[in-house]
Every structure is written in structure tokens, then in C-alpha cells.
Amino acid sequence: MPLDVDAVVVSNTHLTRDYNVLALAAAAVASQTQPGQFVMVKPGGGDDPLLRRPFSVFEVLRDDARQVTGLSLLNKRVGVTTRMLFALKPGDRVRCLGPLGRPFSVTEPPERAWMVAGGVGLAPFATLAAALRERDTETTLFYGGRSANDLFHLDEFRQLGVRLELATDDGSRGEHGNVTVPLARALGDADRAAPLRVYACGPTPMMRAVTQLAAAHGRTTEVSLEQVMGCGLGGCYSCVVPVRRDGGPAHLVRSCLDGPVFDGSTVVWEQLVS
């Protein structure tokens, strides 16, 4: 059951000029969260900015006794609310509603998990990696960013036993170019018979490419779409994506209820506006 918490900012770690990790004391939300779910947040009072904004739960935070204490968000500055989230100080408060949305399905061995992240699309994969680890699923993260400085949290993923395949636009770390380059190679190299599930989050063209690449190799992809969302609860019909299921006609479905995680093969990518 989603809850709304007036959460205290515990810490705000600036990673680069545009990225930060914001830790919130929202234990009641965090303890219910499944990988791929999101929260709707609103920093500051007043009516401008007015609406909440959707954010993946980045980490479920725990104390030394493994008790859940809150959650963190991986935030990228792009506009007014993300600027505010970047500037927050410990002790400030953020309204945080969640957890919301359909989570990833967490696959189990023998199926392996390949997570493909572009930029801030990394956000849902920290909790997914932790859940996969619990199931001992063999996991790889394909992770692309602009440059070496824009690749975060690598040690944490390694500690979770995640194999890393990196790519940067400027070649400063890992493969030079798009994350789909190492992915394509790996898909080609992989044993066709060995079960494998692909997860993708990032820019829409990247998710589309990943879905198509994976499909070409007979793999299904779960994508986490990032539509503009007014409410996060199915109330406003702002967040729709075109989906075609069972060969039927395409329909616009609400990504806050039916998503944000979708089977990539059901998304009608050529009609997806974002």
C-alpha cells in the first residue's frame, strides 16, 4: 500500500555537477519497495513547482542491524524539481509517496540477468541487483555514460557480485561509444540455450535498441519507461504508452499502473512519444 511520508533528508551526496544521491528517512516506504518501483516526490512547499515528480527508488537503506531506515534517489538535474533535489541539505524535508508501479520480475537461476543502463537509467538497478543477489542469479550490468566521471556506484555493484561492462561516449572508460556495442557483442557470444533475461533503463532510443537487439537473439527485455507523470496513481491519464498485447490492437495504457516496467516486445516503440 503506497504511503505518503514527509521524509527528512539524511544526506545529499553530490557525484558530479548534475548528479547526486539523496538519502531520505522514509523507512515505511522503503521497506515495501520492490525493484523497479518508483516514488512521487515533492520538495518544498508552495504551489510552484506544483506537481510531484517520479523517481525510481535507487537504494533501500539499512542500518548495521539490517533494519530498513530509508531510501535513496539517484537524481539528475534537468529542471526545476531536480534542481531543488540537488540543492537540498540534511534536515530539509521531501514529500515522498510510494512505492508505486509494477516492479521488475526478479529472475532466478539458472536464468541469468543482464541489466542495461544508460545515464540516470542506472537508478532502478541497484535494488534489482540486490534482489538478484539474494536469489544468487548471475548478473551483469551493461552501463553507459558520457564519460568515466558519469559512471557511478561501480564498487557497490561489484560488491553485489555484479559483472560490469562499461561504455562511455568519450571512451574515457570502458568501450568507446554506446552501451549497445558491448551488449550486442555479448548477445552474440552467449550460449543461445542458456536462459537469459535482459532489463533496460535509459533514454527511449536506447531502450528500443536494446529490446530489438535482445529480440533478435531470442531474449525478452523488461524496460522501465520514463513518461511524464502527473499523479503516479492512475488518476490523470498523462503517462500513457502504446502497448500491443497478444497480437491485439495497440492501446494507450497508463505507465504508472501498468508500468513503469513493461515487456519491451509489447511496447509500440514507433508511437512512443517521450
Binding site: 505518503d4 514529500r95 509517496l97 511524464v228 499523479c231 492512475g234 488518476g235 490523470c236 491519464y237 492501446h251
Partner: protein, 314 residues
């Protein structure tokens, strides 16, 4: 002290004046886990045509200062599926249901109303002649006195439920539309629907909404909406359901004091889906503090007598 928050809208009794606004609360069932629907005055469900509609492609909303634009384009499941799939759930939840009806033609409005008249659990019919986002129907009727009259009269003929035309604010004299609605047999009016508006992405020089224009809602419009409720109250003797940017019990009280018998809450529900309890507590507290027995005693009590010494230059 026990206070009576109940109000009457053209024969429909509500437990309290707070109604979830159409298009801002899905079909109500989406919120049933979060909110006890039986504690709301009523739920106005998303606008329904006769048939299913996909609505406009995204981008469908954009935020503006203290407001938002929407151009959903009335995506919906059509009245028959609503009656079959949603209405029973709403009744089971104990919700009072107001169905917002749409049409591209007067006949379509009447047909939707007729189907609802046969269904159980419809408290009232809100006639949406004010949607700014669709080409045919909607505001086309609501911006013409004749159109308003004709749609309302057609719906009136086919239903026994209270008929509540929803007025558009995009007109010069909203009170004349309230009067036209009354003359056509309306039991109440609701206002305001959204203001026709637009936002432009200056980098691409393209509209931010796929539909180019959309409807402005939220706190930004509240002062205009309150004025329009006040004008209607002066002009016609019908119950008014007021709305536009209500975020707190205090905002709702502005509408009630201006002349609204009940209020709808739309955009605020996006910001805070748990708003209903706060609204109820705030209103109860106010009514008690002011020593009133019934919230309905507040309706239209704005005191405009001049307490300032009129200013003259001598």
C-alpha cells in the same frame, strides 16, 4: 460539537461537500486502496462518451506556474464498459457517483445519459460541455448559449437523475450560461472546467502539448474561478458545484462563501492523494470555530458591505 457537513445538490444528498473532480480521479476505483471512497461527498468519474476513445498522444500534460495544462483528449472506456466494469465496484465501495458525460453530438449526450439512467448507482449526471481539448463536442456547445440549452434539454428529457451541466470559464459572461442551463432544466451547475491555454518549447519552437492547446487547472486559476462562482450565485438560484485550484479547506471555503454548495477537487489530488481527510478536518474545524451547525449555512455568505470610508479627494 457535532457539525452537519451534508449538502444537497438538486436532490442528491452528499455526506460532505468534497467531490473528486472528473478526470482527476480516474474511475475512482484506482484510488479505492488509498482512500475510503465512502468518506467523500462524491466521486465524479472521468468523462465518458458512448464508445471507447484513445485520446491524444503524449505529451498530455505540462506544468505551468502554480498550475498545469492537460490535453488528455478524453481517453476512456465508453459508458457501457463503465456501467459493466466500474460502477459495481464503486457501489460496493459505498461511493456516491457523479458521471461526467460527453458527446460529439447532442444525440450522443442523450444516449449516454439514457444508458446511465438504466444503471444502478448513478447519483447525478455531470454534462461536460466545457472540455477544451476535443474538436467536436465539449466547449463547442459550452461556448454557445443555444448549444448549452440544447444539450442540457436533451439530457434532461432522458434522465431522472440530477442534471449538472459543467460550464466553461472561456466565456465573457458565465452567469448567462448558468441561466441558460437553468432554463433548460438543469438541477445544478458545476464550474469551472479548465481554461484554454498553451505552452511553447522555445528551443524547438513547438507546442509542449501534442494537441497544441490544453486546459489550465490548479491554484493559478482559483481567483478567476471564485469570481465566476460568485457571479453565477448572483444571477441564478441553482446549487453550484465550485472548483478550480482548491488545495486546502480554506480554498474550498472561498468557493462556498462565494456561493458554491459543494466543491470539486482535481489537480490537488495529484499533489496529495490523501488530501480528503485534511479537507474534512479543516472544514469541520472551521464550522465549529465559527459556531455553525450546518456547513450549508455558509453558502453565499460573502459580506460585501463597504466598511471603508469611501475615498474622495476632498
Amino acid at each position: 460539537m457535532n457539525v452537519d457537513l451534508s449538502v444537497d445538490i438538486g436532490g442528491l444528498r452528499l455526506r460532505n461537500p468534497f467531490i473528486a473532480a472528473s478526470g482527476c480521479f480516474g474511475y475512482g476505483v484506482e484510488y479505492a486502496d488509498l482512500v475510503d471512497l465512502s468518506t467523500l461527498g462524491a466521486v465524479a468519474v472521468k468523462g465518458l462518451f458512448l464508445e471507447e476513445r484513445e485520446g491524444h498522444p503524449p505529451t498530455r500534460i505540462v506544468e505551468t506556474p502554480s498550475g498545469m495544462l492537460n490535453a488528455i483528449g478524453l481517453q476512456g472506456i465508453g459508458v457501457r464498459r463503465f456501467v459493466a466494469e466500474k460502477l459495481p465496484l464503486l457501489r460496493a465501495q459505498g461511493a456516491v457517483v457523479i458521471v461526467n458525460i460527453c458527446g460529439s453530438t447532442i444525440d450522443e449526450y442523450a444516449e449516454v445519459a439514457r444508458i446511465l439512467d438504466d444503471a444502478d448507482g448513478v447519483g447525478a449526471v455531470e454534462v461536460n460541455i466545457s472540455c477544451p481539448n476535443i474538436k467536436k463536442g465539449g466547449m463547442m456547445f459550452g461556448c454557445s448559449l443555444q448549444g448549452t440549452h440544447d444539450v442540457v434539454a436533451a439530457v434532461r428529457r432522458v434522465t431522472r437523475r440530477p442534471v449538472v451541466p459543467k460550464l466553461t470559464p472561456n466565456v465573457t459572461d458565465v452567469a448567462s450560461f448558468a441561466a441558460a442551463a437553468r432554463d433548460a432544466g438543469a438541477d445544478a451547475v458545476s464550474l469551472v472546467n479548465t481554461f484554454l491555454a498553451m505552452a511553447i518549447d522555445v528551443e524547438t519552437r513547438r507546442p509542449k502539448l501534442s494537441n497544441v492547446v490544453g486546459g489550465l487547472s490548479g491554484p493559478a486559476i482559483r481567483p478567476i474561478a471564485v469570481r465566476m462562482v460568485y457571479e453565477c450565485r448572483q444571477a441564478v438560484d441553482l446549487p453550484i458545484i465550485g472548483m478550480g485550484g482548491i488545495m486546502t479547506a480554506g480554498d474550498a471555503l472561498e468557493f462556498i462563501i462565494a456561493g458554491a454548495t459543494a466543491v470539486q477537487v482535481g489537480t490537488a489530488n495529484f499533489v496529495d492523494p490523501f488530501i480528503w481527510n485534511k479537507l474534512l478536518t479543516g472544514l469541520t474545524d472551521y464550522v465549529q470555530r465559527h459556531g455553525l451547525a450546518h456547513v450549508s449555512d455558509l453558502v453565499g455568505t460573502l459580506d460585501t458591505t463597504d466598511r471603508t470610508t469611501a475615498w474622495t479627494s476632498s
